[in-house]
């Protein structure tokens, strides 16, 4: 859309030139900003600050919609709710039965690990959160949740729904937080193929329902349907959380690596309730014998006590049987 003809009187040509100069200035400024934001996130701290300042706006916009949803839930017919409760109770019973079985496995596992003197795996703890009624830019691969610093969230905590890993907490404000989804082109997640144990990295593709594995060896043993879980490398995610399912594998001729497209198991675009995992830092400290006496001291501090507490609980439980 180039300017077609002189709609300006000739006398203010100077002003026109100045305006073009200003356009150039602001255009360049925003391009520089975009570049800084995209490459390496130089403006992250700035963004974080501004986001915290703008949080009330988001809360104010969200309030009426949240209220509307609650009203809608209250108006729902009683028998419908009863049906739902019955369904959920049945589901709970089934899950409890499964958990009871898993409990036994966990005890076995603990004993085996103790025999191997391997590091204890810390049982991750969850905080539930709900997505806010705010539509962000459809290309941002970010969502807002209604938990924040108030609830002890910190940047970098894993976020999952009931099917798999969704993303990571990015910006934390007082009572809200932004979550960057694993489908964001900037996001990379260390994963392991469950069937073969192969470790690789899943990159966001910019599509909400797709991730990419780009550095697989050409002779890789991978089939559509294979499940990827987090490998725990890098320390941000606890190992073993389900991430994605392999969709297709291609070995482009003349390239050094095979590539695979995988589909996230989490419902990135539809989930409403999510779990924020209290990041346990799995490889940091193997549970050692001195954990028992340091345990009491750690109990009081709530901030730093998270991972020592987690690892302390296990030897204590181990002593009882």
């Amino acid at each position: 859309m180039t300017p077609g003809g002189g709609s300006w009187p000739a006398t203010i040509d100077g002003e026109a030139a100045a305006r073009i100069a200003r356009l150039m200035f602001y255009g360049l400024l925003s391009i520089v900003l975009m570049t800084l934001d995209y490459r390496g996130g130089y403006v992250d701290s700035l963004r974080g600050l501004a986001w915290r300042a703008l949080e009330p706006v988001v809360l104010a916009v969200e309030a009426p919609f949240g209220l509307g949803q609650r009203l809608g839930e209250e108006m729902r017919a009683r028998h419908e709710l009863m049906d739902r409760i019955a369904g959920l109770e049945r589901h709970l019973r089934e899950t409890q039965a499964e958990v009871a079985l898993l409990e036994e496995l966990r005890d076995d596992n603990r004993e085996l690990r103790a025999l191997l003197e391997a590091s204890q795996r810390v049982a991750p703890r969850f905080e539930t959160a709900e997505l806010m009624n705010i539509d962000l830019n459809p290309w941002s691969h970010r969502v807002l949740i209604n938990r924040g610093r108030r609830d002890g969230l910190t940047a970098g905590q894993p976020v999952m729904d009931s099917h798999g890993v969704m993303g990571q907490v990015d910006e934390v404000a007082f009572s809200t937080a932004q979550v960057i989804l694993i489908s964001d082109p900037d996001h990379a997640l260390p994963v392991r193929v469950q069937r073969t144990g192969l470790r690789t990295v899943a990159y966001g593709s910019g599509r909400i329902n797709q991730l990419r594995l780009t550095d697989l060896p050409m002779n890789v043993d991978l089939q559509p349907g294979d499940v990827l879980v987090t490998s725990g490398l890098g320390g941000a995610f606890p190992p073993g959380l389900p991430v994605a399912e392999v969709e297709s594998l291609s070995r482009p001729v003349g390239e050094a690596f095979a590539r695979a497209e995988v589909q996230p198991l989490a419902r990135l675009d539809r989930a409403r309730h999510v779990l924020v995992v209290d990041s346990p830092e799995p490889d940091s400290s193997p549970a050692s014998s001195d954990a028992a006496d340091s345990g009491n001291a750690e109990e009081n501090s709530d901030e730093a006590g998270d991972e020592p507490n987690g690892s302390v609980e296990e030897p204590a439980a181990e002593a009882t049987p």
């Binding site: 859309m1 925003s30 988001v58 009624n133 539509d135 909400i208």
Partner: protein, 163 residues
């Protein structure tokens, strides 16, 4: 001189109203076709009242929008600056167009903006937008006359009640 005092309340209210309109949840099928409210309001104030004419104002407004919608910092800023520039550039022509023609120009401006934003999206490597996304300028065009009438009426009332 005196003009500046008019329509301050309306200006503020319309700017505040942009935020919920931009952020409010819409059904998934039509979320992509959400009209670019910020641009519509900006164009209105520039054309009809000669307010918000500075590119700097558009730039700052765009940055606020970027932060709130979690987009790349500068994406909306760039798009609003370009819209503001083009509106100002053709201001004296557009002002005297009949309303339907004005709406068509608004659609062109919004369509041009889609291309600018597509460029950003392409550079970042995000998913190509769905076809609904291209409907947003058309929705904007259909909304324009009503927005125009509403803001004009509010402005008139404020002016009459004024000092």
């Amino acid at each position: 001189m005196n003009r500046k005092r008019f329509a301050n309340w309306t200006l503020g209210a319309s700017l505040v109203a942009v935020l919920p309109l931009t952020l409010m949840p819409l059904p998934e099928a039509i979320a992509d076709a959400r009209p670019y409210w910020a641009a519509l309001v900006l164009i209105y104030w520039n054309l009809e009242a000669g307010r918000l004419r500075y590119l700097g104002q558009a730039f700052i407004g765009g940055l606020v929008l970027d932060l709130l919608t979690g987009s790349l910092l500068g994406q909306h800023a760039l798009s609003l600056v370009i819209i503001s520039y083009l509106t100002e550039r053709f201001r004296y022509r557009i002002r005297f167009f009949p309303p339907w023609q004005q709406a068509a120009v608004v659609m062109l401006l919004l369509f041009n903006d889609r291309i600018v934003q597509l460029w950003t999206i392409g550079l970042v490597g995000d998913q190509w937008p769905a076809w609904q996304w291209w409907m947003a300028p058309v929705v904007g065009m259909l909304l324009w006359p009503w927005l125009f009438l509403l803001l004009d009426a509010l402005r008139q009332r404020e002016r009459r009640r004024g000092p």
